[in-house]
């Protein structure tokens, strides 16, 4: 059992008696950090959660956004770090299954997946390569099988993830406004579980995820087996039930199994449940405790009016999805659980669902001060060496092309993906209102265009969790802006080591503060998210790794920015490059140096820069836009050259900057910068638009030719397009062409 002495006392007081063993396992599962947020809850209140598009904010299985035309967008993010570290293929695949079922729980159809992955250095570490290869395969196999495209993502490599990995998946769903399923229920309504048979898999998974990771052998029970075929049947059956209006509430059975699902549902409804475990379809003989906390995959809970049971059964039978009527809702607020004809638990749902808060101390860790004291700058490289450094950075697995990853994913199924991976900084989906069968209700209702991207930066968040986290949020917003979308909401996933460590906990609090400050200033609400603690390896806590998934909206097709720079187009930069080298790939990857000076977001400037870019995007005056982040200006220019298949000639002297060193100018990761390409004839018009915003903007070069030529104070270096493309393909080369 994972309850603390204090929690057991609290439970005894709440019950005024000793809990029995079934009750204790239910409470242990639900009061785990993973399910209860007992350390993080008070801090999550810092987020601003309201906005004009928000219909439902945090606290449900998915956030719900009103995107107009009678359509709602649902969004959620989940991680499956511990299971993936043990069994990368199954762990990652079941992570996809889980987040998809969260989207289903709102009655919405899952239409797109995103993945954000973190591993140790795959260049030298066989285990990291094994994890990377199998995690990507797991995501691909599950996502491809269920017909939901994986449209965007990001991957970072850092040795704080040695023998471990972070596997985050976000899912976007769409539902007609009149079909949204929120939690409803009346006394006498039926409680039904459908999907896979319950077995002993993943027993204690939630408490496993709430403990430090101790390596493979000890935690065999955490292996989870994906069944994408059943996942797909559940999607189709659930969509048909929603279309037929025969369910009042839907909930995923995830971490903590029935114990968490039943108690949270009953508590939210303010009701009780009478549950007969003998009715449940099982794979093997199991005790009541085991049934309550089993985390068998591909199972869903439904609440329905008894009059709808025949209709519900007909739909489930049609898809051959097994189901069991477990019991019904009661008015007493108690979970009364029966097994083998005997009552084995009777406990208040609200007691189970509301864990007492864990008081955590937050103390600034000494390493941050240590980095500050020992920060120094490297020798300025010889001018001629800069080209070599740029090529090395392009081959840095954290920067290099992730084609090896996304080409394993079906990113087009469903016909919604109009901006695909590798084509721009964010994915763009065309969304339409639909019937349960996926057909458009009425195309004349008009399409809506949704941009999505997920971003993180563990290196910067380690050195400066406040500014690093804020930077991730800013970067995700910049990425959706680069396809012409206005950011309307975010979901976050906060991943840290043990909250019982006051130094780790301080980084968590700082990170939340950074994200909350950015969201409030920008008016971009948080509509959901997850917290994952106890991400510890044998070396200690992982680097703080908050992830931000931003959803943006574009009014019409004509405003989607999806082109590339054309031959002869001008290259312009918006924003100011500063000496902010802390956590940069240049310092960490090239020089193995930590530096305290992490890029800081100037909130007012950041907003102006993004507004300026969006104004340019909607004016149709620019041909493409690219965010300037990992690897800095030099890498961003090289990436534009690679994607447009041509070189460029750039005058670095005209870049707005406060840098005094060339390497700072080239590789600083200062925020709020965009590179845009534009036709030469539009230069004056673009300048007129930019003049309306208090931001720096300068034309710094021109596209064309077969090499990138960087000129600075009379000197010049030239790098062939071919060598840049070659360097940028390092991950594909390392992982092999076979996938």
């Amino acid at each position: 059992m994972s309850l603390s002495d204090e929690e057991i006392r609290y439970l005894r007081d709440a019950l005024s008696r000793e809990p029995n063993s079934v009750e204790l396992s239910m409470v242990s599962a639900e009061w785990s950090e993973h399910c209860s947020y007992k350390s993080s809850r008070p801090y999550l209140k810092m987020f601003s959660t309201e906005g004009k598009h928000v219909l439902i904010g945090p606290g449900y299985d998915a956030g719900v956004l009103d995107i107009g035309n009678g359509m709602l967008l649902t969004v959620h993010i989940e991680s499956h770090n511990h299971p993936s570290a043990v069994e990368p293929y199954g762990g990652a695949a079941t992570g996809i299954g889980g987040v998809v079922r969260d989207i289903l729980s709102m009655g919405s159809r899952p239409i797109a997946l995103l993945d954000a992955l973190r591993f140790a250095d795959i260049r030298y570490d066989n285990q990291a390569r094994w994890l990377f290869r199998n995690v990507v395969r797991g995501i691909a196999d599950y996502g491809n099988c269920i017909g939901v495209p994986t449209v965007a993502g990001e991957v970072e490599f850092d040795d704080s993830f040695k023998d471990y990995c972070l596997v985050d998946v976000a899912c976007i769903g769409v539902v007609r406004k009149d079909r949204l399923v929120t939690l409803k229920g009346d006394v006498g309504d039926l409680v039904v579980v459908a999907g896979n048979r319950t077995g002993r898999d993943g027993i204690h998974g939630a408490s496993f995820a709430s403990r430090a990771f101790e390596g493979e052998e000890e935690d065999r029970s955490a292996v989870q087996i994906p069944d994408p075929f059943m996942g797909k049947l559940l999607i189709d059956a659930t969509m048909e039930c929603v279309g037929a209006g025969c369910v009042k509430a839907i909930k995923d059975l995830g971490g903590g199994g029935l114990a968490c699902c039943l108690s949270e549902t009953a508590d939210k409804l303010g009701m009780g449940m009478l549950i007969d475990l003998d009715a449940l379809h099982l794979r093997e003989g199991m005790s009541a405790e085991e049934i309550m906390i089993s985390e068998s995959q591909e199972r869903m809970l439904y609440i329905l009016d008894p009059s709808m049971l025949e209709r519900f059964k007909a739909i489930m039978d049609k898809y051959e999805v097994p189901y069991s009527v477990l019991g019904r809702l009661t008015g007493d607020g108690y979970l009364s659980i029966y097994h083998n004809g005997k009552q084995v638990a009777r406990i208040s749902a609200s007691v189970v669902a509301n864990a007492p808060l864990a008081k955590r101390k937050a103390t600034k860790p000494g390493y941050i001060e240590h980095i500050a004291v020992h920060s120094r700058k490297p020798e300025v490289p010889e001018y001629d060496d800069m080209a070599g450094i740029l090529l090395e950075l392009l081959a840095d697995p954290s920067i290099a092309s992730k084609e090896w990853v996304y080409r394993q994913y079906d990113h087009e199924v469903g016909l919604r993906t109009i901006v695909k991976p590798g084509h721009a900084d964010a994915a763009v989906l065309r969304v339409w209102p639909e019937h349960h069968d996926g057909m458009a209700a009425d195309l004349s209702d008009g399409y809506r265009y949704v941009a999505v991207k997920v971003d993180g930066n563990s290196k910067q968040c380690y050195i400066d969790p406040y500014n690093g986290s804020m930077g991730c949020f800013s970067e995700a917003c910049r990425n959706v802006a680069c396809v012409g979308a206005e950011p309307i909401a975010m979901v976050d996933h906060l991943q840290f080591g043990s909250p019982e460590d006051e130094h780790v906990f301080w980084t968590f609090v700082e990170s939340v503060r950074g994200l909350a400050d950015y969201g409030r200033y920008m008016g971009i609400p948080c509509v959901g998210g997850k917290v994952s603690f106890y991400n510890e390896t044998r070396q200690g806590a992982i680097k703080p790794s908050p992830l931000v998934c931003v959803v943006g909206l574009i009014d019409d097709d004509g405003r989607v920015l999806k082109g590339h720079a054309g031959d002869g187009d001008m290259l312009m930069i918006i924003g100011l490059t500063k000496d902010e080298m802390g956590g940069s790939e240049y310092y960490e990857y090239i020089h193995s140096m930590l530096h305290a000076n992490v890029p800081k977001v100037d909130l007012a400037y950041d907003k102006s820069a993004r507004d300026a870019l969006l104004a340019l995007a909607s004016s149709g005056l620019i041909t493409s836009a690219h965010d300037c982040s990992k690897g800095g200006l030099a890498v961003a220019i090289a990436e534009m050259c690679i994607s447009s298949g041509m070189g460029a000639r750039v005058d670095l002297g005209s870049v707005p900057s406060t840098c005094t060193r060339l390497d700072d100018l080239l590789f600083s990761e200062s925020h709020s910068r965009f590179l845009v390409s534009l036709r030469r004839d539009d230069m004056d018009a673009v300048s007129r638009v930019l003049a309306g915003y208090p931001v720096h903007g300068a034309v710094i070069g021109r596209f064309g030719g077969n090499s990138l030529s960087l000129e600075y104070k009379g000197s010049s270096m030239s790098i062939s397009l071919e060598s840049m493309i070659d360097a940028y393909g390092s991950v594909t080369r390392l992982m092999g062409h076979g996938g």
């Binding site: 043990v86 069994e87 293929y89 199954g90 094994w130 896979n196 077995g199 002993r200 898999d201 493979e216 065999r220 292996v223 087996i225 994906p226 069944d227 075929f229 059943m230 794979r283 068998s296 051959e320």
Partner: protein
């Protein structure tokens, strides 16, 4: 050096579910009229030909290789290495 035949059988541990086997059982075998079949588990077999001094050496080498190259995940699967008499 003599050539030995070695078979490697990789299957999910008995307490770990096997959706592929379940699907074959449910959708193919039982629907096809073979209700006597009670369970199906899917496994993967590799047939190797190995040069070694003795049969035992061949088996040991293959076992080492399976572990080192992670041809199976010990968390998930059982890996049996058997030599086949020629």
């Amino acid at each position: 050096m003599p050539l030995y035949r070695v078979n490697v059988l990789i299957e999910n541990k008995p307490y770990i579910s096997d959706p592929e086997g379940d699907t074959i059982l449910k959708d193919l075998v039982i629907k096809g009229g073979y209700q006597q079949v009670r369970s199906i588990r899917v496994a993967k077999m590799l047939r190797l030909e190995v040069e070694a001094d003795t049969e035992g050496d061949a088996r040991d080498m293959v076992r080492r290789m399976c572990d080192e190259l992670r041809l199976y995940n010990p968390m998930l699967s059982i890996c049996r290495v058997e030599s086949v008499s020629t």
